[in-house]
């Protein structure tokens, strides 16, 4: 099935964010959409999904003009979407999440549960995610597994167009491979795959054609063969990026964090490492290897069952100069209903007081500086609700909150998830600067390139245990991966 967008405009209130987008996708094609944070990718995708009605413009399916009034309309035409933000119902089983709205029924109209579980299993298997138990409560799954369920869910029913908004952001290793294999299979079956990602390497690997969207306009249409990552980044950012990762030089000073024998039952075991002032340490591992849990435990968000070095509570951590940028900004990083200003100031309210009252003017000044420094949604975003920021900008707001606290140890859990290349470069540079000023950084990431490029040292976790401690300058992506999957020499 072919899709055609003509002159699509979209406004939120008085602000127009898409200014007349034209886009064509053909059957059996992987069409990648790349662009900086806030460029309008997710908006475009919500329009394709029928989740949002365009302000003006038209959509043609196989040449025929159609009006998608609801997600139901889109489904009926075989257009299925995986959204950027997870939308799993945690209290329901995986099966229900997968088959929602399309249950097999017995005579009499009642749902045939055994058949439903069978179908769910088949669906997961066919998507390459057979390790997930369909009877499990979806809320118990890790973020990555939830993302796999999301993807499998989009495959229920007849799929002619599959729209994926940053599906790979939380995936790594073999899970990522499964996703790519799936996309290739779909392409062979003549499905049009619209693929949004900030990971340009995978875009170059997968895509048949690439469109670059900038500030709500398509500014280039190209193919992997005719372009390079550097060129794409240049187009997206409107400037050339010389070097992505700053050159690290070692200057490890005093120990800032010393973790010893830390365990938490069922999650991770016997973790020992130290972080020194001035160093950036990467932490890699496959999904479910326990990195996030370990970081949360160090930060005092959950108590350990054994071991030393972890803090008693987040308050104690913060008092000691720790900061934790969590991996799920929606669930634990932001207060979505509050303004950008309130969010960024959240961890530093007590420190910035005049008598019993918050120093409002000072607070605004500090936050605005941070907004400028991280170029969060350029413009006057301080009084906007943080929910109205694009995904990447939301991520930057979380970072801003913690940088404002002036930490001595910074733990970043997937900090560049959903962040565009240009901003990533800014973030790497900033983290590097901070490290040079004596900050100790733990960078948890599922992005091998990043884990290797931005760090001095890489710790690898496997099945809840520390499986490697490698020097970034002397190791390779393959070696890190080998430790992560337990096949290191």
């Amino acid at each position: 099935m072919s899709l055609e967008l003509r002159g699509v405009r979209q406004s939120y209130g008085d602000v127009e964010v898409l200014h007349g987008v034209d886009l064509t996708g053909r059957p059996g094609e992987v069409l990648a959409v790349v662009g900086a944070n806030g460029a309008g990718k997710s908006t475009l995708i919500r329009i394709l999904a029928g989740a949002q009605r365009m302000t003006s413009g038209e959509l043609r399916v196989d040449g025929e003009r159609v009006d998608l009034r609801s997600p139901h309309d889109a489904h009926a035409r075989g257009i299925r979407t995986v959204y950027q933000e997870l939308s799993i119902v945690g209290g329901l089983s995986v099966t229900e999440n997968l088959l929602m709205g399309a249950f097999p029924r017995r005579r009499g109209g009642l749902i045939d549960w055994p058949e439903a579980h069978r179908r769910a299993k088949k669906l997961l298997d066919s998507a390459g995610f057979g390790a997930i138990d369909p009877r499990m409560l979806a809320g118990r799954l890790s973020v990555a597994r939830q993302q796999m369920v999301e993807i499998a869910k989009a495959l229920a029913g007849e799929v002619k167009v599959l729209v994926l908004d940053e599906p790979s952001a939380v995936l790594a290793g073999s899970d990522l491979e499964s996703l790519f294999a799936l996309i290739r299979r779909l392409r062979e079956r003549g499905v049009l795959v619209v693929y949004v990602s900030h990971r340009l390497a995978e875009v170059m690997e997968l895509a048949d054609s690439i469109v670059v969207i900038k500030d709500g306009l398509i500014i280039a249409t190209t193919e992997p063969a005719n372009t390079s990552e550097a060129e794409l980044i240049g187009l997206m950012a409107g400037r050339r990026l010389e070097q992505i990762y700053p050159a690290r030089r070692e200057a490890p000073a005093e120990t800032r964090l010393e973790i010893s024998g830390l365990s938490r039952k069922g999650e991770f075991e016997d973790i020992s490492f130290e972080l020194r002032a001035g160093e950036i340490v990467g932490l890699f591992g496959l999904v479910g290897s326990g990195r996030s849990e370990m970081a949360r435990c160090v930060f005092g968000a959950e108590p350990p069952t054994k071991g030393t070095g972890a803090y008693r509570s987040p308050a104690a951590s913060i008092a000691a100069g720790l900061a934790l940028v969590t991996e799920d900004r929606k669930r634990s990083g932001l207060v979505l209903g509050m303004t950008v200003l309130d969010n960024i100031a959240l961890a530093t309210m007590r420190a910035n007081r005049r008598g019993p009252l918050i120093d409002m003017a000072g607070r605004k000044r500090r936050v605005t500086e941070m907004i400028d420094r991280l170029s969060i949604q350029p413009g006057r975003c301080a009084t906007m609700p943080v929910a109205a920021l694009s995904g990447g900008n939301q991520q930057k707001a979380v970072l801003a909150k913690w940088l404002l606290a002036g930490p001595r140890v910074l733990i970043l859990d997937e900090p560049t998830r959903g962040v565009d290349m240009a901003t990533r470069v800014d973030i790497y540079r900033m983290v590097d600067d901070l490290a040079r000023q004596g900050l100790a950084v733990l960078l948890i990431s599922s992005d091998l390139t990043e884990v290797l490029g931005a760090t001095d040292r890489v710790l690898v976790m496997r099945n809840g245990r520390l499986a490697g401690d490698l020097r970034s300058e002397s190791t390779t992506e393959d070696e890190i991966l080998a430790h992560a999957i337990g096949q290191a020499a």
């Binding site: 997600p71 139901h72 119902v89 229900e96 929602m100 709205g101 109209g109 009642l110 869910k153």
Partner: protein, 322 residues
Amino acid sequence: MTGHIARIRMTRLVVGGRDVTVTAAFVTLIVLLVAVAAVTSDTFLTQTNLTNLLKQMVTTGLLAFGMLVVILTGGIDLSVGSVVAFSGILTAGLVADLPIPVAMLAGLLAGVGFGLINGTLVSRFGLASFVVTLASLTTIRGLAFVYSEVPIAPEDPAFFTLGSAMAGPLPVSTLIMLAVFVAGGIFLTRTPAGRSIVAIGGNAETVRLAGINVPRHVTLAYTISGACAGLAGVILASRVGIAQPSVGVAFELDAIAACVIGGASLAGGRGSARATFGGVLVLVLINNLLNLYGVQSFWQQVLKGLIIIAVILVQRTNRVRG
């Protein structure tokens, strides 16, 4: 605002791969209540008292099931007490001119109508259910008084049948309530509409994106609650033999309490017909016991509140965190 509890680790009871700790604790609680009652009161196990218990469950039971459906969507229906009053007085008023079954049907349909209005306001206009049904609580109560300020007592003794007839040892009204729970349980677990209602309470946006008509299902939930309240009103009027416009004040509170004692989450998405029925049972047992022991009215209140807290505390410590 959940999630910051004093963590108490419990041994868990797992049967056939399912964690049944909560169910087990709950059944234990009910069995315990019954056992204590049976041993300490010689009245408890008498035929009269058991029949009383069965009859006294009817109103709370019907309202609780309807409330559960609404709570599952993440909403609440505060108007049920007023609907009980309205449908009762309407039925009693119509009996003068219409055949009794028709009048009763009209009472039930009045409940359906109010439910539809509540549901539409919540689902199509995006208003908070608490306020919509708080407002309709006031309006519907007013309407009941406008319809008749004074109680209406139909002359025809056939009017009493629904509320007092027995089918063998069981009151017909109790059987009706049980039927609602059984059918309702099947509805919630085994029909697409029921599953959608549960899912909506978990994450309405996801359900919408799955192509399901969310407003329609939300409206359905309030309509079911309205229907249950209408039915409860008709049965109550028939049982008392007199319909009063002032009846049913604060009935919603017991219905909500039953749902929550049964483990339903007021945030939506969690709760079952079976457990809610258990909640109804617990509430009715507590009332019955306090009466059998002759506890004085206001001490009954003091104790009832404390027992409810105790019950949900036990529930809470037994639940696996999601």
